[in-house]
């Protein structure tokens, strides 16, 4: 009979070393390697010059403000959807939830361009109602607000999924008790539902913030015309004019990004501190509010949002995939499916890219889930002093622009790995590891917040049944955090599926990903082919989600995020 030194918290002995190793490999090692190079090259020229540049601080400020407002937008959008769809008697919940996932899939630049198109002088929509601004009038999206808005659209699903998982864990009687106390729906929301689902809420907001801090695509399109430089666009420009000091500069800028994201996390930790979110009693049923006369309005609002964030960019995408050239007005005479023929029939690269991206994102999503369930469990249950540090380290890689992370991995793996002597550089494995590192935070967040809400007696009952750690992990814990686990898998999958900036530097012959392919096509002027490919990717994802929907009955309750 084994005795353990643990204080009844039931963690197996290997858990701590495991978590440490994971964090070391996925975060400490690449970040450390980057920092080492940065410090080395800082000797060649002072980084102090960079730091004393007022322009830098201006970008820090812009990064902060765009990310902050972006987070707010994401919280409003994603939070609104999550609340309305889980707690109210909205019709067509499943479909709305399903559609709400999809904007994550549409490359941000496509969304940005379609919004620009929609609000600009050539907007068919505005032209139709005679409100199109004259040629050359300033574009309202080229602003902090515009960037924040698109950040919000892009990251709303993060908040949605994370919060939804939290809402599903609410015990019904807590909500009912509040209503009977006389609290109006709004008060119940404010005083009971939101505070109780705060872990999910805060996790969603934090990850959205971190994601905004690291975003490149949107500020590149919307920020630069307005002279707004965020740290990622700044980093990009440093790479463009590569000089002897570049590595030092990059390291400094990355460190700034890391600090910003850690600040975001500290705010999250601060919000959650000293609170107890363990659900008392049996969850498993959600109280549903009636909207009554407001239902129509709410439904209209939801569908309108879906139209704006999904239908419109998608229509733009489809339109440009069918147009012979950019800017040619689409009419029955000009429509052509040449682009689709080109990718489906002629380009061998398409098939390879589909295979690569699919296997990479599936492997990352499910592989990471294993890692994050263990890490999340450790973070919530352990009283270790390292918990804060570990969560911060897990988060930073996601905040760094993909290009920086990719550089870190090149620095790490360009030479064969010491001792084993194998080189993974140029293979698909380096992309996989980089994905693990980059999306660790995305996968971890919802799982951690779900663990926070878990009623401990459920695990205890399993322990007393004789279930060892792995056993109860599989039978009890994972099914109980299933909504969060499902959210985590789907999020990582969606994001990895059209990921660009990490794989852009790490791919080589035979390992190109969809993101890279679309980018290269677009960059070399084959706009319509790129658009066609994007459309196909969206179709593929929808198809996969439909398959998931068909399997939903056999999966634990709540895993499929659009099912109630």
């Amino acid at each position: 009979m084994r005795q353990t030194r643990n204080r009844g918290n039931g963690q197996p002995r290997w858990l701590f070393p495991f978590v440490i190793t994971v964090i070391f490999c996925l975060s400490v090692l690449p970040l450390g390697r980057l920092a080492a190079t940065g410090i080395m090259s800082a000797f060649h020229g002072g980084a102090s010059e960079l730091l004393s540049d007022p322009g830098l601080w201006r970008s820090v400020y812009d990064t902060l403000s765009t990310s902050f407002f972006g987070m707010i937008a994401a919280v409003v959008l994603g939070g609104g959807f999550a609340l309305l769809l889980t707690l109210f008697d909205i019709r067509g919940k499943a479909l709305l939830g399903f559609l709400f996932m999809l904007p994550t899939m549409i490359p941000p630049q496509v969304t940005a361009l379609s919004w620009i198109g929609m609000t600009g002088p050539s907007s068919a929509l505005l032209k139709a109602i005679g409100l199109a601004p004259p040629l050359g009038s300033p574009q309202p999206l080229y602003s902090i607000g515009g960037i924040a808005l698109l950040y919000g659209v892009q990251n709303a699903a993060l908040v949605y999924l994370s919060l939804r998982a939290g809402l599903l864990a609410l015990p019904r009687d807590a909500v009912e008790a509040a209503r009977l106390s006389g609290a109006s729906s709004f008060q119940v929301l404010k005083d009971v539902i939101l505070p109780l689902s705060l872990p999910g809420f805060a996790a969603g907001a934090a990850i959205a913030f971190v994601s905004c801090v690291g975003n490149f695509g949107i500020p590149a399109i919307l920020g630069i015309p307005a002279g707004i430089y965020t740290l990622p666009t700044l980093i990009y420009s440093k790479f463009a004019a590569f000089g002897p000091r570049t590595f030092a500069d990059i390291s400094v800028l990355s460190a700034l990004i890391a600090i910003l994201s850690v600040v975001g996390l500290m705010v999250e930790a601060r919000v959650l501190r000293g609170r107890d979110y363990r659900v008392i009693g049996l969850s498993g049923q959600v109280a549903v509010f009636r909207l009554g006369a407001w239902r129509w309005l709410a439904e209209l609002l939801l569908w309108l949002t879906i139209f704006l964030i999904l239908a419109m960019p998608l229509i733009a995408l489809v339109a440009s995939s069918l147009a012979p050239a950019y800017g040619v007005p689409l009419s029955p005479a000009t429509v052509t499916i040449k682009a689709y023929e080109e990718i489906l029939v002629r380009q061998a690269a398409t098939r390879i890219a589909f295979t690569n991206s699919l296997s990479l994102s599936l492997a990352t999503a499910f592989g990471l889930l294993v890692v994050t369930v263990l890490t999340g469990y450790f973070l919530v249950r352990s009283k270790s002093r390292f918990v804060g540090l570990i969560s911060a380290l897990a988060e930073i890689p996601y905040a760094l622009p993909g290009i920086v992370l990719a550089v870190a991995f090149i620095l790490l793996f360009a030479a064969p790995i010491p001792v084993i002597g194998i080189s993974i550089y140029g293979t698909i494995w380096i992309i996989l590891i980089a994905y693990f590192s980059s999306f660790f935070a995305v996968s971890l967040k919802p799982v951690v917040s779900a663990f926070r809400q878990l009623d401990p007696s459920l695990e205890e009952a399993a322990r007393l049944s004789g279930a060892g750690f792995t056993r109860r992990l599989a039978d009890i814990l994972v099914p109980l955090v299933a909504p969060a686990a499902g959210a985590s898998v789907i999020l990582v999958f969606l994001i990895a599926c059209n990921e660009l900036t990490v794989s852009a530097l790490l791919w080589s012959a035979g390992t190109q990903t969809l993101g890279v392919l679309i980018y290269n096509l677009d960059d070399s002027g084959s706009f319509n082919i790129a658009a066609a490919l994007s459309v196909l990717v969206v179709i593929m994802v929808i198809a996969m989600m439909v398959v998931l929907e068909l399997m939903a009955k056999r999966l634990p309750k709540g895993v499929v995020p659009w099912r109630s």
């Binding site: 430089y229 990009y236 360009a414």
Partner: protein
């Protein structure tokens, strides 16, 4: 692989170049990686830092970057016999890099635009107020060279850029973004590299390309061998190939102006003699690049 090529050429072009080279040198296994200039440089430099660069040859946008690498000792000198057929300004005297084609930057305009510009100066006129867009040197290598080139032209200079800014011009993104912006009618005029609008126009896009009368700037997409190459012989063969008549005809077919003397121009371009290419001094440009980027940034309110 027998040879690894890093290039910023568009996908299809890179593939065509490699295919041509393989046809000329059967049996060689050539790997290539293509990406935008910032990414390629980031990748390459990270590899160099890690002490194991994978590339043997580079074929990238501008001489300025290669000049910097030459000065850092990262390039290998090779005096290609084909250089004799080229203008002296188009290759490094020591043989560290050789230009392969001319990619000029001119003016694109939407066919619905009221004014048809013919000169750079036109874009500073009131008719173009708020309608001009150009690539940012932070996103496009050609854009900086273009700015440095125009800065050296009397009557234009940095004042020209200041006038443009005052006229509501913006600097954003790369050439692709400019093309989209103008083709979609969001802006009416833009600075852009020649081949994009010419190709798109052929496909029916509502755009027109102009070689302004003051002259155009050009980047020359030079090729170079890395000093760390493990396949020096193959690398030299590659340089020879891209400079050869055959290689140059390949570029021509892809729609570029070949750098080699006595070649034709692609369809849609005016005769070679009528294109006035403004000169640029690579070492000089390199020396000033940081200052110029800053100057440009200051004018356009970039980075603050």
């Amino acid at each position: 692989a027998d040879l690894v090529l890093y290039t910023s050429q568009p996908n299809e072009d890179a593939q065509a170049t490699v295919d041509g080279f393989k046809a000329a040198n059967p049996g060689l296994d050539v790997q290539w990686v293509r990406d935008g200039t910032p990414q390629i440089m980031a990748k390459l430099n990270a590899e160099i830092q890690a002490g194991n660069p994978a590339a043997d040859v580079l074929l990238i946008a501008d001489t300025v970057t290669l000049e910097r690498m030459k000065q850092a000792g990262q390039l290998m000198a090779y005096k290609s016999p084909e250089a004799a057929n080229y203008d002296k300004t188009l290759y490094d005297a020591d043989g560290f890099y050789h230009s392969t084609k001319l990619i000029t930057t001119g003016i694109i305009y939407n066919t619905q635009a009221a004014m048809k510009p013919t000169s750079w100066a036109d874009l500073a006129k009131p008719e173009a107020k708020g309608l001009v867009t150009m690539p940012s040197p932070l996103a496009s290598g050609a854009a900086l060279i273009h700015a440095q080139t125009l800065a050296g032209v009397s009557g234009l200079g940095w004042d020209y850029y200041k006038n443009l800014k005052a006229n509501g011009a913006i600097a954003a993104g790369g050439n692709g973004a400019i093309l989209k912006s103008v083709a979609s009618g969001e802006k009416a005029y833009g600075f852009v590299v020649d081949y994009l609008p010419i190709r798109e126009k052929a496909k029916g896009a509502p755009v027109e390309f102009v070689f302004p009368k003051e002259g155009v700037s050009a980047v020359t997409e030079p090729a170079a061998i890395l000093s760390s190459t493990k396949h020096a012989d193959n690398a030299k063969k590659f340089i020879d190939y891209v400079l050869s008549q055959k290689g140059q005809e390949g570029f021509l077919k892809l729609g570029y102006i070949p750098a080699r003397n006595g070649m034709a121009v692609p369809p849609g371009f005016p005769a070679r003699e009528t294109i006035k290419v403004l000169p640029i001094n690579a070492p000089e440009a390199l020396k000033n690049s940081e200052k110029d980027v800053k100057g440009f940034a200051d004018i356009f309110g970039i980075k603050g």
